[in-house]
Structures are given as structure tokens and as C-alpha cells.
Amino acid sequence: MTASLPRTESFTYRHIGPRPEDITEMVAILGYESLDALIDAVVPEGIRLRRPLALPKGRSEREVLRALRRLAAQNEIFRSYLGMGYYGTFTPQVIQRNILENPGWYTAYTPYQPEISQGRLEALLNYQTLVSDLTGLEIANASLLDEATAAAEAMTMTEAVTGRKGERVFLVDEACHPQTIAVVRTRAEVRGLRVVEGRPETFEFGPAVIGALVQYPATDGRVADYRDLCRRAHEAGALVTAATDLLSLLLLTPPGEWGADIAVGNSQRFGVPMGYGGPHAAFFATRESYKRHMPGRIIGVSRDVAGRPALRMALQTREQHIRRDKATSNICTAQVLLAVMAGMYAVYHGPDGLRRIAERVHGLTTLLATALRRLGYKLVHESFFDTICVEVERWAQPGILDAARARRINLRALTPTRLCVALDETMGLGDIADLIAVFSLDEALPFMLDGLGANSAPAIPAALRRTSAYLTHPVFHLHHSETEMLRYIKRLEARDLSLTSAMIPLGSCTMKLNATTEMMPVSWREFNRLHPFAPRDQTAGYLRLFQQLRFQLAEITGFAAVSLQPNAGSQGELAGLLVIRAYHKFRGEGHRKICLIPMSAHGTNPASAAMAGMQVVAVKSDAHGNIDLVDLGEKAKAHAGELSAIMVTYPSTHGVFEQSIKEICRTVHDAGGQVYLDGANLNAQVGLCRPGDYGADVCHLNLHKTFCIPHGGGGPGMGPIAVAAHLAPFLPDHPVVHVGGSDPCGTVAAAPWGSASILPISWAYIALMGWDGLTEATKVAILNANYIARRLAGHYELLYSGAEGLVAHECIIDTRPFKASAGVDVEDIAKRIIDYGFHPPTVSFPVPGTLMIEPTESESKEELDRFCDALISIREEIREIEQGLAERDNNLLTWAPHTLEHVISDSWDRPYPRERAAFPSPATRLHKVWPTVGRIDSAYGDRNLICTCVGMDAYA
């Protein structure tokens, strides 16, 4: 009987925007009999997967949450004293609920359109100010992926700044965190740099040395003075990087004051959960004079058309999308959501509150140190902040570790005779008592705990005590009551356009639904309180989830093995290329260094290839945007002996399923190369075709695109790679937790499984949709893109299309003709779209002067129609200029976007009505996100770079 009961909960029905009847109608408008007939016309038959994915069918939200609860219950939360860059923290609940768990913050995109991003840009400026103040360096970026990759970026920057060629040596403090050393070594080896590991006191700055990396405080807790080291380095023309800890810098002399040129580290303990490895925001700060070599996104202050201060991303010419293989970094994603949280933690506590937290942590640590000394233990270092290193007898260590385990405590065994204990703000006197009991092996104490405090003097040498002020800007002083904090967060949120207001049709970005159910586990304590190096027997739930996710992703891509380590698409690219490099080397063909890249490729591709030590050779595209097979054949042949790989995006960056993809793969294989598939456009393939089937050897997946991890306003991302069986032995490993293949290509991220705590999002999406829902989603994504292309036909030129005039999951409209006909350029149209309440599509990628639109499957027909109506209406506004009805350089587009302040001002003097400027469509009268600043003068900001909070009078 139950079989006939109606099903009431289908998640696919919620995830997909168009209703079933809309789909029928849209398919008919496109002239096809069914959705399947449309898909058959779009996706080449030769590559189709003509069977269901070997995954279960979709399940309800309740069922999937229950399954996730079961997995979560298999993780055990021990108190972590492991340190190594990851610490317990109290996330202020007002931040957790209103930022971490708030789609108004987590569904926004990278702030490419600053006029509707001022909220998170201000939050990021706060973060940069925090980092700059605490490190004592003038300029900080808006975050990097993790501390280990930030250290590797520092090394690369050092190389660029010193300009040294030939033999180059980079000195690394042996007391850096092991994951940092592993990533630095991996990246150095590829670049031909020699890493010399040792104690900083013994560093010798010979002529080949470009720089040194020290950990401050060291991984074993030691706090040492590096002033002399810096002096010696600078005399030799070398740079010094300090890997450091923000909380310690409230009490310690900041690296910028003792001579460091670069400071990197993890801001996790500023209110961001450990999350079994991430995501967290790593920071990067340096001296003003090196700003043009700095990796990552930098937020800077500029001004808008009205001359008011306005924020936007600065110095973009440093970045990979412009410099391509000349870029020194392939970084695109930052960790915006987490940087926002860390910055807000500082806003919430203010300088005095932060200092109290640091003093408390240090006080507890000195208390513990005193007690351990009284117990007869010797401490390895007498100067420390929050971590002490204890000498223990070899025979005693196992007993201590057992006693710790019995109390659900994780300690770090540095060596068989040394234990490290790292404290954090979540610890109290009870925790210290427990630790003392562990170290006394439950013998009666020879002293009273109460009396210890008086004997515990600070363990920071006078020369290294911080004396300089920090966080003096008003923003760090005004929001300490929860009411003020809440309103500040909400005020910033209201300035930004996120998926909570309107579609974000950014081509190649896949801004689909981030469903609430998928997001729930992120803040469950069983997922977010685990230290990444917690013993495996405490993380069985996570390990099972990873295993299932790896299987799911392998099945979806048609590959044999998956690494979850790379925690951004750019890192996935690098990891994939390193795997290919290791494969060639293993076969004795290490000389294969040529990487073919189509001209239409995203700039990250050539930047990644250059980072992987490859030499880029461009392959031409034909008039339809497809790879020119003749040119490919010639170049593959010309470089046959040295060909390492080709990097292709599929469907192409032009949004077309190339018919010739199999032939492209064959050509490259015949020349001895491997095929790297950029998975940016996987949303057009899931369930319909698989990279592993049509000839690719490795691909990365942007889980933040296709698999529903939200963009977080510009990060986090996740970029796992999937590889064919012959490449599986070369998957990346980790120095603390073994994860990789038998001949790993190195280590690419700080944590073994990247940003582990957001992997349940993708797991949940796949479980909710099942093979049926995933395939349906792909079909509707393609339908939505073609529907938009059809609706805009006759109004705009469609730039590229495949066989039957159809596109894949995105389409490009050409706006270049309006430059001549109306003096309107693509930027003007993009900014006018903001007046209509939408986020503009991708501007000028992959073709300058065009807009690339990707609706995804999650947008309803009503929303697609509103968006198309807006574009058509803008076309009519352009026509008015063409026909002389509107002034050429003084019209609705010239002055877009229009701020509320501007349209209601008494001095309005535009030759068009205010209502048309502000409410150009009926939908905007119901709701729209107003830009809070007018169009921004980017040149002004780049010429006058300011990257920290400016005085409040500037906002008056």
C-alpha cells in the first residue's frame, strides 16, 4: 500500500528553478519536442554517457540530514592541544548566526562589481587593517588559502623581489610547522629553488640565498629574537618572512618592527572554527615598497564619480587573469567569508578585548609551565606565548599520552622525548588541572594549584614585548555591545547583492542554489571542532564521508581516484599539473615541459602551468572559438618529444561543446602528452558525459561551482582533482597525515583534506539529488542558458554557438558594436544592469567587450524573464542614444549605477527622469539592492593606494 502514497519531499524539485510546466514551455519555445531532444542536439553523441551514474537516487532533505547526523556522531571531539596553526576559538554567536550561517554573506560572489559589494569590501578592509596593525607591516592582502601556501607565496615573491637568477637558495627554519615546510619544499623543487632547512641561528646568507622563513613563535612554542637574523639577511640582499600567529602579536613585538619583510599565517583562531583543517583565512602582509609583487586580492580605497570614498579590488594587474604565465602566483580565490569573520572578531572584541584574550591564554600557559616545573619536568624553551615543549623520559611518554587519551585530550608528540602543549582561548583553569593530572600520571600533587598563579611571571623576554599601539581606528571601538555589532553586520550586508536578492548570472562561475540543508552541517560541532591532525580513530565520520565523496566524484568524472587536498580551483590546477609532472618523471621523461594552452583559456591556466615549471605554448582558436585542430596538430608534433600536457576547458570557455574533444585528446596522447581538463564548466556535464570517458587524464572540480559550496563573497572554494588510474600513485600526500599515492607529487595544501568542513555541503548535494536529480540539473542548466540566448536573440548578437545554434550552459552576448553606434561600452551596460537590481554577468571574459551569462539550473523562468527583460530594456536605452533621442555621453548608461542619494538630490541635472534612472522596471519597485556608491574611479585608487581603514571623516 505504501507504494501508492504520494511523495511529498523531492529536493530536486526545490533545487531546480523552472517548474515542470515551465520546462515544457521553454523547450517548446526553443523548438524541441522534449528536454532530452534539446540535450541530444547540444551534447555531441560521441561523448554521451548512455547510462545512469552509479549513484543512489535522490533522497529527501530529512533523510540526508539524518544520514549526516549519523556520520557526525562518528566523529569524537577531544580537547585539542595540538597547535601547529590550528586552535580552539569561541566564534561570537552574533557572528556565527549573522555571517557564517547567513546567506546574505555566504552567497555573494567575489567583489568584481564594487558598487554592490561595499559591505564585504569594508569588512575586508577591516581584516587588512587588523593584519597590517598586528604584523607591523604596511600592507596586507584580503587573505590567501592557508598558512602553508601563503609561506610558499612568500618564497615566490621573494624570488621576484630579489630578481636573482641561476642558483637560488631559500632558508627554512626547521621549527616551522611541518605542513608549511612540506608545501614550501614542493613549490621550491618545481621552481628549481634549493631549500636548506636548519636553525635560524645557524643560517648563513651566502650569495645564492634569496631569503629565509622563520616561525614566530616556533612550532614548538619558542619565542626568539630575529633582529640579528634580519640584519644579516638584509646585508646580503635577502628577505625574511615570518610565519606568525596573530594572537601572539598582541603581546609580542610584531615582525615588521624586528625587520621581517613579509609576514604570513593563519587567522583561524580569530573566531573561525578549526573545521578539521579549514576553511580559514591565511594572511599575508609586506612592506609598501613590495606591493606590486604581492600575491592575492588587495582591497583599496578609491573614490566614486561623486568624489566620495569607495572601496574596490586594487592593483589587479598583478593578478593571473591579466598576467597569465608572467604572473608569479595563480591565486584567484581568497577566503573572503573567513577573513570577514576574523575581521569581525576583532571589531567585536576591540584592541583591549583581544589583548585580554591573549593575556589570558599566555597566563594559563605560564601557569601550566610553572606546575610542570614543580612536577620536575624540564621545559625545552623558557620563552613562549601559548605553547610549551616538555622534555619527557622516553619510557614515560606512552603513559602520559594514555592518560591524556583517557581524559579525551590530544597532545602533540614532537619526538619520543618531547611533548608539545598548545593552549587557546577556550581553555580554563579546569583544563590546566586536567593537564597537570595527565603529566603527574595521576599521582598526588606535591603542591597546591591555587598557589601557582603568584609564581607565574610572563615568559616573554623584555626585548620582545609589544609596545606599539594597534587597532586604533574607530571601527574597532564602536561595536562592542551586541546591538551595535548586530547592526554593523546587517548594515554591511545590506550594501551587497547576494543570491538572496537576485540572480547572479556570472558566466563560468555557476552561482547556483546553496541549499539550507546542505549548509547545516557546517556549524555542527562534530564537523567544525576537530583539529586537522586529530588521530584518525577520532574522525571516523569524516573519513567515511571523504571516502563516499571521492567515490561520487570519481563516478561523476569517470576517473579512478580523487584527492580532496587542493582547497581552491587554482590549487587543483597546480596539483593536477604536478601529478602529470611526477608521472613523466617516474617514466624517465622528466624533460617533458611543454604545456599547450588554447588562447581562449582562463588566465589561471597559464599561470598554473608556469608555477608547475612548465613552458606555455598557445594553441589558436578558430572563428567559432573552438581549438584550431590544425594548429594543435602542428604544435603537438613540433613539441612531441617535450610535450607534457594540454590544458583544456570543456565545454569551452566560450560555452560550447566542442565536437572535436576526443580528437584533441587523441592528438595530445599520440605526442606523449597528458590531458588536463579544467573542470570549471563541469555543471554542463554531470550525468551527460564524463571527462574520463572522452580522453582526459586529470581534471579538477570546483566544488564551489558545480557542487554547491557557496562562494562566500570570494572564497572559500575547494578544488579536488580526479585522475585516471595511471596517475593515482602521484596524488599529493601530507607530512602529518598520510593521504596520497605511493609516489606522491608533494604537498599542495596545509591540511590533508583541504577545507574539510565544507565537504559535507557537496556530499549532501550529491546525496539529495542522486543520479537522477544531478542529471536533470545539468539538463535544466543547459535549457536555461539556451532560453536566455533565444530571448535575447534579435536584441543582441550571440557570439558563439555550437552545431544547431545552441550553447552549453552559458552564452556570450557581444556588446562591442555599441561602442561605435552609441559610445556605450560593456562596462556601461554592466553598471546599468545594477540599476535593474541584478548582478551583471561576467564582463570581458573570455572575449573583451562581451558579457557572458550563466543562469544555472536554480533560477526560475520568472527570474530569467525579468533578467532578459532588463537586458532588452537596456538595449532600447542604447537605441535612444543611437537615434539621437538621448545624449551620447550623458545618458542612463553613462551615469549608471544610480545611487539613492544621487537620484533624490536637489541638484539633479541629468537629461532623463529620476524615475527611469532608479526604477527602470516594475520589478525594481518591489525590491532592489541599491548601489551605495556611484561608479568607481579605479585609476585614482591604484595611483594612491590605501589598503587600511581610512578616517571616519572620509565617510562624512
Binding site: 606590486r292 587573469h321 591579466i322 555621453d889 579605479s938 585609476a939
Partner: protein, 156 residues
């Protein structure tokens, strides 16, 4: 001047050289003075006093780049080969390399650009000059473009 991307990708920079100011009209005719020589990479060369040559980028080039925000120039005394990259020029959304039209030694660089990069946009042939060279081989001057040849090179 050439976008680094274009070095390998046949003149296809990913980002356009978008003019940021909403006041720049759509159609622009470049100023190509008749008393200068040009390169296909949009540098100009002017004969200065005492046999010294003055190098900068053309009005067309500055218009294509948009607002210049930074120029990285060589040091006095640097010896350049013909067609050698001697620096970079950055606008808001584009970066290009600068190429020496002829071989020679750098005898002076325009330090004023550092404080005011916009001078390259406002006055490319005057105050926006970049380097002064003492040429190594005057015969190389014969290989440069005339004003009319440059005009047809940029399609104006």
C-alpha cells in the same frame, strides 16, 4: 608595447583596455605627430638634443590602455638591445611590456611619472616621455615606421 599575454597568445589579451572614465567618447582619432618615428608595438621615438633619442608610447597606445597607474622604468646606464623589453606599463585592467625601438644606453629616465602616472595619458609625446637613449647603431632607425605607416598599422 605589447601585453605579456599577447607574447604567447597572438595578441589576445584577456581583458580589454577599458577606458574607465565615463566621459571618454566612443570614437577617438589618435594624434600621430609627423615629426616622430614609430614601432609596431606602439612606442615612438623622437630625436632629442645631442644625438639622444626620446622614447615613449603613442597617443593610440595610451588610449587603448586607459588610465595608466604605474610605469616601471630601467636605470640610467642600462644597456638595451633593439626590441628588448625595458619595462612595464600598468593600467587598471591591463599590463604591457615596453620595448626599446633601437639598441642603446639609457641616459635619463622620466622620474616624474612615478608621482603622476596620468601624465602618460595626458601628454604622451611631451611630459609623458619615458626614457632617453644614446643609440648604439643609428642604422636601426631606418627600420622604424613612418607616421603614415604607423597610422595604417593601427587602422586609422
Amino acid at each position: 608595447m605589447r601585453a605579456p599575454g599577447a607574447l604567447d597568445l597572438d595578441g589576445c589579451p584577456v581583458y580589454p583596455r577599458v577606458a574607465q572614465s565615463p566621459n571618454i567618447p566612443g570614437i577617438r582619432v589618435s594624434n600621430i605627430p609627423d615629426d616622430l618615428q614609430y614601432t609596431t608595438e606602439h612606442e615612438y621615438l623622437r630625436a632629442g638634443a645631442g644625438g639622444v633619442l626620446i622614447v615613449g608610447i603613442t597617443d593610440y597606445a595610451q588610449g587603448e590602455l586607459g588610465d595608466v597607474v604605474f610605469v616601471n622604468l630601467p636605470k640610467v646606464g642600462d644597456k638595451l638591445a633593439a626590441h628588448q623589453s625595458f619595462g612595464t606599463i600598468e593600467a587598471v585592467k591591463a599590463v604591457s611590456e615596453l620595448f626599446s625601438p633601437v639598441s642603446g644606453e639609457v641616459v635619463e629616465v622620466n622620474g616624474a611619472i612615478d608621482a603622476d602616472p596620468g601624465v602618460v595619458n595626458r601628454d604622451p609625446y611631451g611630459a609623458g616621455w619615458m626614457v632617453k637613449l644614446r643609440p648604439g647603431n643609428r642604422a636601426e632607425l631606418d627600420g622604424l615606421l613612418s607616421p603614415s605607416a604607423y597610422r595604417s598599422h593601427i587602422g586609422e
